[in-house]
């Protein structure tokens, strides 16, 4: 079972400027999209808290979570918007993905419709979202691969054709959950140009913010 660091402690430590390490820190907005009941919330919950609930309540509106991970010398803070999959919330999605640097489009490998829906999400993202957005396709519920409907190769090929990251994940077993977020973090541009505030670049936590945080920690 993969355990992930608690979001609170890790981020504070990494941003301390008094250390000798030259750690950069980046903040990325990530949005999860996909049909209802494919396991978006479970995926996030597994990533952020390492938990899994067999009977996850369906998300109302969009839930906001953060998680910090380290890759190489960079601390990457994900601001995750876990959107609701129900039909009535679909038209709200642009609110979240238009400013996002990364998106995970989730489908359920036992459900062909959810895969088709994922394809339409990808199309919409290509059309409407920032052109630099990093999109990952996640075939969730991979622990049930013996009753799968969507073949791995089919999805893999689709992902390659559309330039997506692709993994089959399982929020239940934790398989590939951290990996897919790591893969996204690696693919995101981590240029530390403070003046480059374009949609594609991650938001570098500015000095002001960092200082204040340090003060708080020392109290």
């Amino acid at each position: 079972m993969a355990t992930t660091p608690r979001s609170g402690g890790a981020s504070g430590a990494a941003q301390r400027p008094n250390g000798t390490s030259q750690n950069k820190s980046c903040q990325f907005k990530l949005v999860l999209l996909g049909e209802s009941a494919v396991g978006k919330s479970s995926l996030v919950l597994r990533f952020v808290k390492g938990q899994f609930h067999e009977y996850q309540e369906s998300t109302i509106g969009a839930a906001f979570l953060t998680q910090t991970i380290c890759i190489e010398d960079t601390v990457v803070k994900f601001e995750i918007w876990d959107t609701a999959g129900q039909e009535r919330y679909h038209s709200l999605a642009p609110m979240y993905y238009r400013g996002a640097q990364a998106a995970i489009v989730v489908y359920d490998i036992q459900n062909q419709d959810s895969f088709q829906r994922a394809k339409t999400w990808v199309k919409e993202l290509h059309k409407q979202a920032s052109p630099n957005i990093v999109i990952a396709l996640a075939g969730n519920k991979a622990d049930l691969s013996n009753i799968r409907v969507v073949e791995f190769d089919e999805a893999k090929q689709y992902a390659e054709e559309n330039g997506l990251l692709f993994m089959e994940t399982s929020a239940k077993t934790g398989m590939n959950v951290n990996d897919i977020f790591l893969a996204i973090a690696k693919k995101l541009p981590k240029n530390d140009g403070a003046n480059n505030q374009g949609a594609g670049a991650g938001r570098r936590l500015n000095e002001n913010e960092t200082n204040r945080q340090t003060n708080n920690c020392c109290k």
Partner: protein, 1235 residues
């Protein structure tokens, strides 16, 4: 690989060809010998139109041709697949539009009449230049000009047979003609005068196969049927015409079949111009040679192919694009044989002429001819007379055409030398079967095919001509596609692109002109064309005007293009029509279109009214923002109408507000830079305005924000939290804005006006904001938030809401936000009361009070599963006091997940197992004890026998008898006696039986089983048969350990019970069978006989009796056989003994070899070796030798054993012998050697 591209040079050259200037200029460069010739020749003043231009006007002929029966070109299947667009704009699939077939009626009529009237015979050869000359099989030559008028005719007076070949020189002033019997004549093309008659220029007694002019104007080449090549150098010394002929290649060294001089006509612009280059081909090789300045072979290659195929040669100037992007126009030769075509480029490199291989094309069928048609395609006629047009660059076949009806003339008579007596080599004659060198000739992009009485032209249409052709046939779809392909392909060449555009506009003109009656025919294609080339005006005006009444299709097509982002603006007239059309059919689609269109082209009055009427909110917002630059109008208008049920409107507004606050346009794009600040400010102010403009007195404050919150609190707060990330909210002023908004929110969301879950959302949001330093820490605010967070009981709070509350609290704590208003201890108390155990855990952790952390997990059902992970993580840290807590909460932990906790205990605290078990047994909670023991047992943890027995006892209490039985079977840890007493106490007979069996107390087990069976039978239980079978099995198992009498006794008991029993009738037979293996059959039968109430008595015992009989018979048989064998053995033994006794013995000496005494002195004991030595046995015994060797000669006594039993001296034998009273050795037997 270099790429072949169209040279513009070619067209230049062709256009220059007819002009007198160039003729003059060229004549000045002539050799001296020719100069006087030129002096006499005054160029014609009337400028002839070039042949191509005239002939392309014969387009009408093609219709006639189809009547005559020559089919139109048909596309081959390969074309349909080939969608590649060619560089010059000739579209992909030919569709029969690439090749243009024309029959030259004028010439054909003249040929026919010549054959009829002057007995000219069938056509045999032709040549094309500015004139068309046709030779006939009876030696006539007819010369036509481009208008197909016969200019002159020439008749051969020397009976030289058929005209075998004809050639015009470059300027079309001289015609060379070769005859089948070897004569070559030169004619003036203008007058038809014979200028030279050359009888003896070639190998005597052979016919002429080819005459060709070279690039040198006074030099021609001639090939004869002997395979030799001659150069004809024309002279005019002192006004007398002469000719020097020289043999260049003798047929003896390889017969030349094809000759093709390179004529570039580039007027000194090419380096190769100074050379006179000729390609020659024999049946096995092809050569490139220079004839002038001196004869030299540049290169030769082998050329393989079928024996009946002639080599084919053709030159053309082609624009070569090399890999390094240098371009050059160089001659390319195509060499064909069989079904192969090879392309080679000839060029000068470092002063040397070099031949470079370019590519190779393999065709399906054998070739008759191969000619260039323009620089990009090769036309090849195959052996079934189908003409294929092959694109050189892609090696694909573009189109094919059946030429079988043309009546193609073959030159095989010349190749076979029929006119000269057939004096040619057999290989040559065979190869010449399909010769048509002189009946198919090419010029420019046209191919001339000579039939017996007709002449045909195959032309290649240019892109534009193909469009015209398709238009003429009303194939608009294809025409449009072709036009578009050409336009798209010309993307990189602006001049060409402009031409293509013009052509498409012209096409549109033709379309408008010709399709007035069916205005909707192929509308989509033409619209696509116009949109692609960007001629929208034509679309809006001409096309639209024509469609006044039935514009639906037009509008649908236009809408499609708008949706595909091909056009963003339309004519206002169209836009009005479009809006009307979609208003009627599908307002939703109208919204899509409005969002895609530029607002400038819309009739705002009409559209705004329409969108309001049909509630097209997105379109309304789009128009408001883009056209009216009013970013708040839509909000003030739509927000008051928002109710929680209107999901679409609400979502749309939320997205819009979010976009505005992030400086983005709606639904896509960005707000212009200079407006961003203003828009953000306006929208925010509008949202937070205290009263709406039209609000009445009773209106609640902040109506807009209130409406949004009422619609969806969570999403509205998400919008705000997204907005807070914008730079505007990240300075001092921004923080005060934030604070203001938060207070407004708190003011709106009072418990009276909002539900708890909504307020919860808000407070969570605030907590989140505070903890991420997005809000200044305001004590009052914090207290309010904490007040909510610490609420002890909230009705209908879902698990999710609770966990959100917890995480918000946790966020605040971990960011030290609550330090000002309360300390950790207070917080701890509050959190406990609010059952926020996540927070409690965090606080305990922070305070270092680890001794109670486990409780937090146990109390929170959501986190039950994570408690074990926590324990594992900290199991090695003593201060976490995991064990203490574990033992304290053991019972709860066991309830949560016994397997997991037992795993941890067994892994980390194996020594404490007994202690923990004791703890549980003290507490008298048997169920927990049981689950723990069971888990321990399942993990195969080491348990004592007592624990096993305890578990067994608990099993007996908690589980079904079957489970107990299974447990007993799968376990060996208990002591059997104890187990028996436990189980017996519970009355679990089945288990007891099992245990008895384990104890080897089969009798007890049997008795118990019998009791059970009796009970079962009494109760008429259905499984009595099963039980009986089990007893039988038990007895079978007992067979090995029970004494026979007891076993039999048991069996009898069992059977005595079973046999009379009606209910067990079904199994009686098998039981008897089973019993028969263990007990005496005799007794068994006795038993059966004695048993009463055996209804099917005989049936059942029949088998038994049968088997008894069988076994008794077997026993008798066995006895008999044994006796027999015994007798046989005895007999054999006796016979052997007898034989031995009768065998003679050969002894070398009559004395014992050991004691040297006579053997007979002690007659009763003798020992004999195989070597023939004999000794007393006593002597041998005295020697005390164990070895099986003769003591004298050391020969092994055993080696000859097979030969004689005596080798091992046996006392027995001699005792027997003795007993037979054999006192003296019989030495009568002949001596034998044993070896």
């Amino acid at each position: 690989m270099s790429q072949l591209k169209a040279p513009s040079l070619q067209s230049l050259l062709e256009s220059d060809r007819g002009s007198t200037d160039s003729l003059l200029a060229e004549s000045l460069q002539l050799d001296f010998e020719d100069l006087d010739d030129a002096e006499f020749h005054i160029p014609p003043t009337d400028v002839l139109p070039s042949l191509e231009t005239v002939l392309s006007e014969f387009e009408a002929d093609s219709d006639v041709a189809s009547e005559v029966g020559v089919p139109h070109a048909t596309p081959t299947p390969s074309i349909a697949e080939d969608s590649g667009v060619r560089g010059d704009g000739r579209g992909s699939g030919g569709g029969g539009s690439i090749m243009r077939y024309t029959l030259l009626h004028g010439i054909s009529a003249q040929l026919a009449s010549a054959a009829e009237r002057v007995n000219a015979g069938a056509s045999s050869a032709c040549a094309v230049s500015a004139y068309i000359a046709v030779g006939t099989s009876h030696g006539h030559i007819l010369n036509f000009d481009v208008t197909q008028t016969l200019r002159w005719a020439h008749q051969d007076k020397h009976s030289q047979g058929a005209v075998s070949t004809l050639a015009f020189n470059v300027e079309s002033t001289r015609l060379l003609a070769g005859y089948a019997r070897g004569l070559v004549i030169m004619l003036d093309t203008q007058t038809g005068d014979v200028l030279r008659e050359l009888f003896d220029v070639i190998t005597p007694n052979t016919g002429v196969l080819h005459v060709k002019w070279t690039s040198y104007s006074s030099l021609a080449l001639c090939a004869d049927a002997g395979g030799s090549v001659w150069s004809l150098n024309f002279t005019r010394k002192l006004g007398i015409r002469g000719c020097n002929s020289r043999c260049l290649f003798s047929g003896a060294r390889g017969e030349v079949c094809a000759v093709e001089p390179l004529i570039m006509d580039s007027q000194g612009r090419h380096e190769l111009d100074q050379y006179c280059i000729v390609a020659l081909a024999t049946l096995s090789k092809y050569f490139i040679v220079t004839v002038r300045p001196r004869l030299k072979v540049i290169k030769y290659h082998a050329l393989q192919g079928p024996a009946d195929c002639l080599p084919l040669l053709a030159w053309h100037l082609v624009l070569i694009q090399a890999a390094d992007t240098t371009r050059s126009v160089d001659p390319v030769i195509v060499v064909g044989r069989g079904n192969q075509l090879f392309f080679h480029q000839l060029f000068m490199a470092n002063g040397r002429i070099t031949l470079l291989y370019l590519r190779h094309v393999q065709l399906q069928t054998g070739l008759l001819s191969a000619h260039w048609l323009g620089p990009k395609s090769v036309a090849s006629l195959d052996t079934s007379e189908i003409l294929h047009l092959v694109d050189v660059r892609s090696s694909k076949e573009l189109e094919c055409m059946d030429m079988a009806n043309a009546g193609l003339v073959y030159g095989s008579a010349q190749f076979k030398g029929l006119a000269t007596g057939g004096n040619v080599s057999p290989a040559f004659a065979l190869a010449g079967t399909n010769a048509c060198y002189n009946s198919i000739v090419s010029r420019g992009t046209q191919l001339y095919v000579l039939g017996a009485r007709s002449l045909h032209i195959i032309g290649v249409r240019s892109w534009s001509e193909r469009i015209s052709y398709l238009v003429k046939n009303h194939r608009w779809q294809e025409a449009c596609q072709l036009a578009l392909d050409g336009y798209i392909a010309s993307a990189e060449r602006p001049r060409k692109r402009a031409q293509a555009k013009e052509r498409i506009i012209a096409l549109f003109g033709e379309y408008i002109a010709t399709t007035t009656r069916v205005p909707e025919y192929c509308l989509g294609a033409i619209i696509q064309c116009l949109i692609t080339v960007g001629e929208l005006d034509l679309l809006w005006t001409k096309l639209w005007e024509r469609l006044h009444n039935n514009s639906d299709l037009f509008l649908q097509h236009i809408s499609e293009h708008i949706e595909q982002d091909n056009i963003r603006t339309v004519n206002p007239v169209i836009s009005q029509a479009l809006v009307d059309y979609w208003l009627q059919h599908s307002p939703a689609k109208l919204e899509q279109l409005i969002l895609k269109l530029d607002w400038m082209c819309l009739d705002l009055n009409q559209v705004l009214k329409a969108v309001k009427r049909h509630n097209l909110y997105r379109a309304q917002i789009y128009l408001n923002t883009h056209a009216l630059k009013d970013y708040t109008g839509a909000l003030t208008e739509l927000l008051p109408r928002l109710t929680p049920e209107q999901t679409q409107l609400g979502n749309c507004l939320l997205v819009y507000v979010s976009s505005c606050l992030a400086g983005r346009g709606y639904p896509s794009g960005d707000i212009p830079m200079e407006q961003v600040q203003q828009v953000k400010h306006d929208v925010l102010r509008c949202l937070t305005s205290q009263h709406s403009s039209a609000g009445d007195v009773e209106e609640l404050p902040y109506p807009y924000l209130r409406a949004l919150l009422a619609f969806d609190t969570r999403e509205t707060l998400n919008v705000i939290s997204l907005a807070f990330q914008e730079p505007e909210f990240n300075n001092e002023l921004g923080y005060s804005h934030r604070k203001r908004i938060i207070y407004i929110l708190l003011e709106i969301m009072t418990p009276e006006k909002a539900t708890w879950s909504q307020i919860g959302c808000l407070l969570n949001f605030i907590a989140q904001q505070i903890s991420t330093q997005c809000l200044p820490r305001d004590k009052q605010l914090l207290e309010q938030v904490l007040g909510y967070l610490a609420t002890e009981h909230i009705t209908n709070e879902s698990v999710r809401q609770h966990s959100e509350r917890e995480s918000a609290w946790h966020e605040l704590l971990s960011n030290n936000c609550l330090a000002e208003i309360s300390n950790d201890m207070e917080q701890l108390e509050l959190a406990r009361r609010a059952r926020c155990f996540y927070v409690v855990e965090y606080l305990l952790d922070r305070l270092g009070r680890y001794d109670n952390i486990l409780e937090c997990y146990i109390e929170n059902s959501e986190r039950h599963e994570t408690v074990f992970a926590y324990m594992e993580r900290h199991v090695s840290t003593p201060e976490r006091a995991i064990y203490a807590q574990l033992s304290l909460h053991l019972r709860l932990l066991l309830q949560i997940n016994a397997t997991e906790i037992v795993r941890i205990i067994a892994l980390h605290y194996p020594k404490h197992i007994d202690e923990l078990l004791q703890l549980l047994s003290d507490s008298n909670d048997e169920r927990l004890l049981f689950s723990m023991l069971q888990s321990l047992h399942a993990r195969q943890a080491p348990l004592t026998s007592e624990q096993h027995e305890k578990l067994l006892e608990l099993y007996c209490k908690m589980q079904s008898p079957d489970e107990v039985y299974q447990f007993l079977r799968s376990n060996v840890g208990y002591r059997v006696e104890h187990a028996i007493s436990i189980v017996q106490a519970r009355g679990l007979t089945k288990a007891v039986i099992y245990l008895y069996e384990q104890q080897q107390s089969y009798t007890k087990a049997f008795e118990l089983s019998m009791e059970l069976l009796r009970e079962a039978v009494q109760q008429d239980s259905t499984n009595s048969a099963e039980m009986a079978k089990q007893i039988a099995e038990l007895l079978a198992r007992a067979a090995t350990s029970l004494p026979t009498e007891e076993l039999e006794h048991s069996w009898f008991d069992f059977l005595q019970f079973i046999l009379p029993n009606q209910s067990l009738q079904a199994i009686t037979k098998s039981m008897l069978h089973e019993a028969s293996q263990h007990i005496d059959l005799h007794n068994l039968v006795q038993l059966i006989m004695n048993t009463h109430n055996l209804s099917t008595s005989f049936g059942d015992i029949k088998d038994l009796l049968m088997s008894m009989l069988v076994s008794s018979r077997q026993e008798t048989e066995a006895l008999r056989t044994a006796a027999q064998i015994l007798c046989d053995d005895l007999h054999a033994d006796f016979a052997e003994q007898r034989q031995v006794a009768r065998r003679g013995l050969w002894v070398t000496t009559m004395r014992c070899v050991l004691c040297r005494n006579r053997l007979t002195e002690q007659t009763h004991v003798l020992a004999l070796g195989a070597c023939g030595h004999a000794m007393h046995e006593r002597c041998l015994d005295e020697l005390m030798s164990d070895s099986q060797q003769c003591p004298r000669c050391k020969v092994g006594l055993g080696t000859t054993q097979p030969l004689l039993q005596l080798s091992n001296p046996s006392q027995h034998t001699f005792t027997q012998a003795g007993s037979l009273d054999m006192s003296v050795l019989q030495l009568k037997a002949p001596p034998r050697r044993f070896c």
